[in-house]
């Protein structure tokens, strides 16, 4: 069942608590009493249609929700994605790091084992940062440039060259690489580190990782299934303009 604007904002959270950071990124903070989604969005100056589409795309991963998102402007989608990036970098990653550091403090692992986990996470972090900075510095600005050109129906020579040499599809395969290390880290924590007396700290790390994974999947899905097809269409239309 889809989330509708008549629904209470609080009920959306009760439906799936993972929506908590999602609504924050969209500009809604807690404390919304018993107001409906529509009311809350209106009050906070948030586009309710866009809000609903993002939430529904998060809950329901089928193609229909991607289609709905494609109806929204590239700028809106990109600005939402930028906020999820900063959520990863400023909140989730430091939090996981702190928890990983607890593994040595509570002597869950010996020094070598701890360093293995820590360095592995460090590598993952580097990959994630690299990926995000590639997107923020090149991919997203390019998408916005394409969208602007598409709407003004004018294609500059430089943009035409860019389309021909680095079309948006050339960034597509990047995503699988980012997921692999996260996947490995989960299994290392679940299966391969020695059995601790108490699994609590490891559980907490794992829960963070699972949550991050789900959020990243949603994020990549929006990039792969919403933005890339949309930009590809625009690229084709722009090139056709020249002919």
């Amino acid at each position: 069942m889809q989330i509708k604007k008549e629904m209470k904002m609080a009920d959306a959270i009760h439906r799936n608590y993972l929506l908590l950071p999602v609504i924050n990124r969209l500009g809604i903070q807690l404390g919304f009493q018993d107001k409906t989604i529509e009311k809350v969005c209106l009050k906070q100056n948030v586009d309710v249609e866009f809000f609903l589409t993002i939430l529904n795309a998060y809950l329901d991963t089928n193609d229909k929700s991607s289609k709905q998102l494609q109806a929204h402007s590239v700028k809106d989608v990109v600005s939402y994605l930028l906020k999820t990036h900063s959520y990863y970098l400023e909140r989730i990653i430091p939090e996981i790091e702190n928890r990983i550091n607890l593994l040595i403090q509570h002597s869950q692992l010996n020094k070598n084992e701890f360093l293995l986990v820590k360095n592995f996470f460090e590598e993952y972090k580097k990959e994630l940062y690299g990926h995000i900075s590639l997107e923020e510095n090149f991919v997203y600005p390019y998408m916005i440039e394409i969208a602007d050109a598409y709407h003004s129906k004018s294609l500059s020579k430089t943009l035409e060259d860019k389309i021909n040499s680095y079309p948006i599809t050339s960034y597509e395969k990047e995503h699988s690489d980012i997921e692999a290390k996260l996947f490995d880290l989960k299994n290392i924590l679940i299966k391969y580190l020695p059995t601790p007396n108490d699994s609590y700290i490891r559980n907490r790390i794992l829960m963070e990782l699972f949550t991050l994974e789900q959020d990243l999947n949603d994020h990549s899905r929006i990039e792969n299934r919403v933005l890339i097809p949309k930009i590809t269409q625009m690229e084709t239309a722009l090139i056709a303009l020249k002919k």
Binding site: L116, A180, I188, Y192
Partner: protein, 189 residues
């Protein structure tokens, strides 16, 4: 793996054949020089080592202390000195019965010692070899050359390893190999 280290080809071949018959499942490797043995020791877990006195005197003994060892002695001497706990003597001029007896007893002991490790890993011996090589930083091509198999076979093994372990990346496999003591710190990149 079982390693037979002696410069005598005929002893290597003979022992390998006898052990293969007694215990077909385990990989057996023969080496003729101390350097080869040291190299193996650094890269693999040796479950049982059969080693001649002349090779043993040319290796760094301390790194072999924990390995279950059978010392190969050419002739039964008049006087035998007391030996360490996990090492035993095998006289090449001994009778068939007592040689078989010593080998069987050691193979059973090896099984018991390694059963802990063995049941922990769902990987085959060959897959374990591949994990070691990958974790030590070798490419598929290098692994293929080293283990005398095709690159295609290496890739198939790696797919199976990823499926079995739930580990996709080289760094992940390195962590796995270190945690399971398949390689030692410093062997990896």
């Amino acid at each position: 793996m079982i390693v037979i280290a002696t410069s005598s080809f005929i002893v290597r071949k003979g022992l390998a054949d006898i052990i293969k018959e007694l215990y077909p499942a385990k990989k057996i490797i023969g080496v003729g020089f101390a350097e080869e043995l040291e190299k193996l020791r650094n890269q693999h877990t040796i479950a049982l080592l059969l080693v001649s006195a002349e090779i043993l005197s040319n290796v760094n003994l301390s790194s072999f202390r924990n390995i279950q060892t059978i010392k190969l002695i050419d002739f039964r001497p008049d006087y035998i000195e007391a030996d360490s706990a996990n090492s035993e003597l095998l006289f090449l001029d001994d009778t068939e019965t007592s040689i078989l007896h010593i080998l069987k007893r050691n193979l059973a002991l090896m099984d018991k010692n390694s059963s802990g490790n063995k049941s922990d890993s769902i990987l085959s011996d060959r897959e374990l070899d591949i994990v070691r090589e990958v974790a030590s930083g070798n490419t598929n091509k290098e692994i293929a050359d080293k283990l005398f198999i095709s690159t295609h076979t290496v890739i198939t093994h790696r797919k199976n390893i990823t499926r079995k372990l739930g580990i996709k990346t080289v760094s992940g496999l390195t962590v796995y190999a270190l945690l399971n003591k398949l390689i030692k710190m410093g062997d990896s990149l």
